[in-house]
Point group: C2
Chain length 308, copies 2
């Protein structure tokens, strides 16, 4: 079988990061954007991105901007859609993609909040539509959540999973549609409690982040929370549950709810991070974050190699 | 001022790790345990621990087992108590410590679940009692939660904070007593939702851990959850809250509660981790975890140096 070809639809920040991921994985990428200026800038921006990451310049040459959506889709095994996160826009875009793409092409949306059924349920090709939710930025954080709609064919999920894994991402397959998928559900649960503790003055913003980055996050960065608890009692998980389940259950019952996401606590957190006061500050600190993510990814890959 | 001296009370797994932390930080450590066999084994165990970590053999020589509790406490600036996590035991032990220790000695308990008021409220020296909750193992995970009782003197908190910081730990100071402190409250909130998602079959155990270790945990390992959100909208945290607060709030409202900590889900998770079926398996995998924690700590320290 020949290598799958990839179509990127929407060449903004996330679209370009996806283009990089697939091209870095050796695949040929065609990219389209409704904005021709965005398309015109693409080759230079991809070359700069590859250079900054210290990658082979050939990676950028595998990414080609294409002026027509139809020509972009032709022969593509998978379309990665990165349009604006607005339901009407996604609906219209998916109708267009479904009408123009070859019948077996996978149509995957980067949507972080809209379930696939919301924009594909009525399409003739609903069976090949799904969400492939990345974490920003996908070329530095490998997980991608694959969430089907009730109409998505398991065979399409299988093929999508294989393509993402092939380019070095870590696909996590959901069995059914659920709001927030997995990652944002976990994030929301922890964040709510974090916001509440800071809002009530139990600890400072810095103290909260320290508790995670110098504590909880250390184990979660290479094991995840479930393997973590598998090691926290001599007889494994059932032993852990007997010892700590009642206490943890009480804490979960008492955990903060949605009301914790308030404007007041947002101001309090913003005050602790002067960088976040301006878009330039956010951009500069995000560049620092990305260099740390790249270094961490490289560290974790080296350790995983060693284990093999 | 001369260097503070440290007394370790209870020389089991956590007590030995604390002894190592303080001695590695250059301080003189005396250790006591009610079990004389445990005390007799201590020098050899500390030497082995230091050797395994590739540390200076002088570290182990700064740790001295002492047969009498009173002699252990003499001249100590801080007592780190590591007795069994049972209220009656802690109560009796703290009464003994308070009666025997010099009046300005800090009495800090490693308790992960008992608040300081529960075992010190009635003591004459309640003002110098607090919880200093480590994460296992404290010589590889630097956070230590400092939680006062209503009677604890701020000055005692200040001095404890300075001592932990001096030996390279990251003290997080709580303003008041709260069940689960900060770390386990955050852990419980995330774990409940994780257990529910696995229990309902939304994703596999492996998929859940992948979502964290190849996703969420990547940023939390060096930034924490609050700095993470400070970078996730162009205008900072208030912007983030306006964009994503309503969705995250809905997810938090819908997040799993204490009932998620069930025996059934424990069995399901245990089945995914064959190592956790026996104490030997847990021990072997814990040794792997500790080597990964040490490597990650060293990676993060190198990056933090670079930033300075």
């Amino acid at each position: 079988m020949s290598d799958p070809e990839i179509a990127i639809v929407g060449a903004g920040l996330i679209g370009r990061a996806w283009a990089y991921v697939f091209a870095r994985g050796g695949l040929t990428v065609r990219a389209w954007d409704p904005d021709t200026a965005t398309l015109d800038r693409l080759p230079a921006e991809m070359a700069a991105m590859v250079a900054e990451a210290g990658g082979d310049p050939a990676i950028a040459r595998r990414i080609r901007p294409v002026a027509s959506l139809e020509a972009t889709l032709e022969g593509a095994a998978l379309v990665q859609e990165n349009g604006p996160e607005r339901l009407e826009v996604k609906r219209e875009l998916f109708a267009r993609l479904d009408a123009a793409a070859p019948p077996d092409t996978i149509l995957a949306s980067s949507s972080s909040a809209l379930p696939a059924s919301a924009f594909s349920a009525d399409l003739p090709g609903a069976r090949r539509c799904l969400v492939a939710h990345p974490v920003n930025p996908p070329h530095l954080i490998p997980v991608v959540e694959l969430c089907p709609s009730p109409a998505t064919a398991p065979e399409m999920m299988d093929r999508a999973e294989a393509i993402y894994a092939r380019v070095g991402q870590v696909p996590v397959r959901l069995s059914r549609e659920i709001e927030g998928f997995v990652l944002n559900r976990l994030q929301a649960a922890l964040l709510a409690e974090a916001l509440r503790l800071v809002d009530e003055g139990v600890c400072t913003v810095q103290g909260l982040d320290d508790t995670v980055k110098h504590g909880l996050g250390r184990r979660w960065a290479f094991m995840g929370p479930l393997e973590t608890i598998s090691l926290n009692a001599p007889q494994g998980v059932p032993d852990y549950m007997r010892r700590y389940g009642p206490t943890l259950g009480r804490l979960a019952d008492d955990a903060a709810r949605g009301a914790a996401f308030s404007a007041a606590v947002a101001d309090r957190i913003a005050a602790a991070f002067p960088h976040s006061a301006t878009p330039d500050g956010v951009r500069a600190r995000s560049a620092w974050r990305d260099s740390e993510l790249a270094a961490l990814d490289s560290h974790l890959k080296t350790r995983a190699e060693k284990d093999r």
